[in-house]
């Protein structure tokens, strides 16, 4: 039993790394663009399937797909926001009305993306073997693809954090999240920043999907679980807080691996209880300021 502990922790950090990417995208889309993207999980699923198709049909290495998907999804997200959500934002009488209508529009997207995936990739869960051989790190035997996925997840998350904190664009994004109107007065093109953020959120979801597909089998129904997970993580870390999403993701990943090891059927109810307690006691999250 003792021998399993490092393995559980490693698996937990891997799952947590993917959750962190997912939740960071989700929280960015809500925190800046004010869209509670119910279709977020579907982006992950779509990215995972795209990677597999690229790998099977054209033999493109998943690590190369990482770049392709990240860019492609960013463009899709950017276009989605500048066509669909910007229009809604302009026509909504109040921020609250925009939150509802954008939620409903995202809900429509969920149907469209999931149905498209089911039409393109029908049938059972898919699985592709990529770097599927065991290696030893610090005396723990792990799969090579998991190590690769984990290191990419952490590097991308950190790179993203530094982009937000250290670059001019990141500053503009944070300003727009803080107060959109004032940011506009300061000469920031908020329309572009919001679309950019929505695109980045989609891009992060895409990256998470690619990394996921290198380690686990994928199915067209997996998206919903990830949307739910993203919600729990961002409530844990504070809705709109990027570092909160990262830390929340890691915590939840480790908890989920421990629960999966001991009580697989009980994992979801436990998360949910955490979720409820957090919502009721501390809706701003563990990292929240207010």
């Amino acid at each position: 039993m003792i021998g399993f502990i490092p393995k559980i922790i490693f698996n937990g950090i891997l799952t947590g790394g993917i959750y962190a990417l997912v939740a960071m995208g989700f929280t960015l889309q809500y925190g800046v663009a004010r869209v509670l993207n119910l279709a977020h999980g579907e982006f992950i699923m779509f990215a995972a399937f795209s990677t597999l198709s690229l790998y099977v049909l054209f033999g493109i290495n998943p690590l190369l797909s990482l770049a392709i998907v990240a860019l492609g999804f960013w463009i899709i997200g950017f276009l989605l926001h500048s066509s669909l959500f910007r229009r809604l934002l302009k026509s909504s009488p109040s921020p609250g009305a925009f939150e509802s209508s954008s939620l409903l529009a995202a809900f429509g997207l969920l149907f469209v993306i999931q149905a498209t995936a089911k039409i393109i990739w029908p049938g059972l869960p898919w699985r592709v073997t990529f770097l599927a051989y065991p290696i030893r790190i610090l005396g723990v035997q792990v799969m090579a693809n998991q190590v690769v996925a984990l290191s990419f997840a952490i590097c991308i998350a950190l790179a993203f954090y530094f982009f937000l904190m250290r670059t001019r664009m990141g500053k503009a994004i944070r300003a727009a999240a803080e107060d959109r109107a004032t940011a506009g007065f300061m000469g920031i093109n908020t329309d572009r920043v919001l679309a950019l953020c929505f695109g980045l959120g989609a891009s992060l979801a895409g990256v998470a999907g690619v990394l996921y597909s290198t380690c686990y089998s994928v199915s067209t129904n997996m998206g919903m679980n990830y949307t739910l997970m993203a919600m729990i993580v961002v409530v844990l870390g504070g809705l709109g807080s990027v570092p909160g999403a990262f830390i929340g993701g890691l915590i939840l990943g480790i908890i989920s691996e421990i629960l999966n090891w001991t009580q697989p059927l009980f994992a979801m109810p436990v998360f949910y209880v955490i979720f409820i307690i957090l919502l009721l006691v501390r809706p701003t999250g563990i990292m929240g300021k207010r």
Binding site: S101, F111, T116, Y272, L280, P283
Partner: protein, 331 residues
């Protein structure tokens, strides 16, 4: 005196409604074989859409938990109306299904309806998953059964019960709309803080209507289970029963009581037509319609109809006046 307004407001509408109900009630006598099961399904979706709108329409709190209440009703039926071992007669089972869903909504509502807007939506989204896992856990570890067989009920009986539930739901919506409760809900939807300052106990109003709308979902679940014959937690707690009613209500339009009825009817029928030919395409079509409606027709199909009606009424009154003027000119 103006015959047009008299006819449309006082007399015509109730009469047409009664006529529709009578036509629906006598449907098993004259419709072709196989129509009644389809009509039962359509009625089910209409009930779900209407009862979703009962709470979410006026208050603006988007609930994604319909399937959880629907599933509660299904499981009430599975436990109390098991094949060969029915504990209660059918009508009692249906009421129990509704009550089970109501109690669940009451507990959940008390805990969460203090949350505003987006947090409530997130919470309700996960509720279904929670309910499903809890039932799975319970069935797996405590009772040790995978699924349950539900007693068989004659198709026409199911249809009549469904129709009765729909009529009850619509009557409830109608009576609530202009009552204190209905006005309080609309107040919450417009401006919750202002409503609270006017002396509306917002949490109480929200929890009450949430539980009331759950009752009809649960009752529908209880009767539907008798058609499905076999249920397990995955079948009973299906996300689609949260999503489709919402979609139907939004596309139909939540501003008028008949909006979700139109949306429910149109989509349930469309689903039947598309699904028999190509699975999954209906989802694609539904999603696309949803996005387009949100973008270009925020009031739903109802707003289109209302706009048409206003234009028609304007035209009618103009004609009426014109005719009167001509009469005056003659004399």
């Amino acid at each position: 005196m103006n015959i047009a307004t008299f006819a449309s407001k006082r007399f015509l509408v109730p009469m047409v409604l009664v006529l529709i109900v009578v036509l629906l009630a006598t449907a098993p006598l004259y419709t072709a074989l196989g129509t009644i099961p389809l009509m039962t399904t359509i009625l089910m979706y209409i009930i779900l859409a209407v009862s979703w709108t009962m709470f979410s329409g006026p208050t603006g709190y988007i609930s994604l938990a319909s399937a959880a209440f629907f599933g509660c009703g299904i499981y009430a039926s599975a436990l109390l109306f098991e094949r060969g071992a029915a504990l209660l007669p059918l009508p009692a089972v249906i009421v129990m299904g509704g009550l089970a869903a109501s109690c669940f909504a009451l507990i959940v509502g008390l805990a969460t309806l203090r949350l505003r807007g987006i947090y409530f939506t997130m919470f309700s989204f996960g509720l279904l998953e929670l309910a499903r896992r809890l039932f799975q856990y319970y069935e797996f570890y405590v009772t040790g059964v995978r699924g349950r067989y539900v007693g068989n009920v004659d198709g026409n009986t199911v249809y009549y019960i469904m129709l009765a539930i729909l009529v009850a739901t619509l009557l409830t919506v109608y009576f609530i709309r202009r009552s204190r409760l209905g006005l309080a809900m609309q107040g919450i939807g417009k401006n919750e803080e202002a409503a609270a300052h006017m002396g509306v106990n917002t949490t109480k109003v929200k929890v009450l209507t949430f539980a009331l709308s759950a009752f009809f979902m649960g009752a529908t679940g209880a009767i539907v289970a008798t058609r499905w014959l076999y249920v397990d937690p995955t079948i009973a707690f299906n996300l689609n029963y949260s999503f489709l009613p919402l979609l139907m209500a939004i596309v139909g339009g939540v501003g008028q009581p008949y909006g979700p009825v139109i949306g429910g009817f149109a989509f349930a029928y469309l689903r039947h037509v598309l699904q028999s030919k190509t699975p999954y395409y209906f989802m694609l079509v539904f999603g696309a319609i949803m996005v387009l409606v949100i973008l270009f027709l925020p009031g739903g199909l109802v707003s289109l109809i209302e706009r048409g009606r206003h234009r028609l009424e304007g035209l009618m009154s103009k004609l009426w006046k014109g005719a009167e003027a001509e009469q005056h000119a003659d004399t």
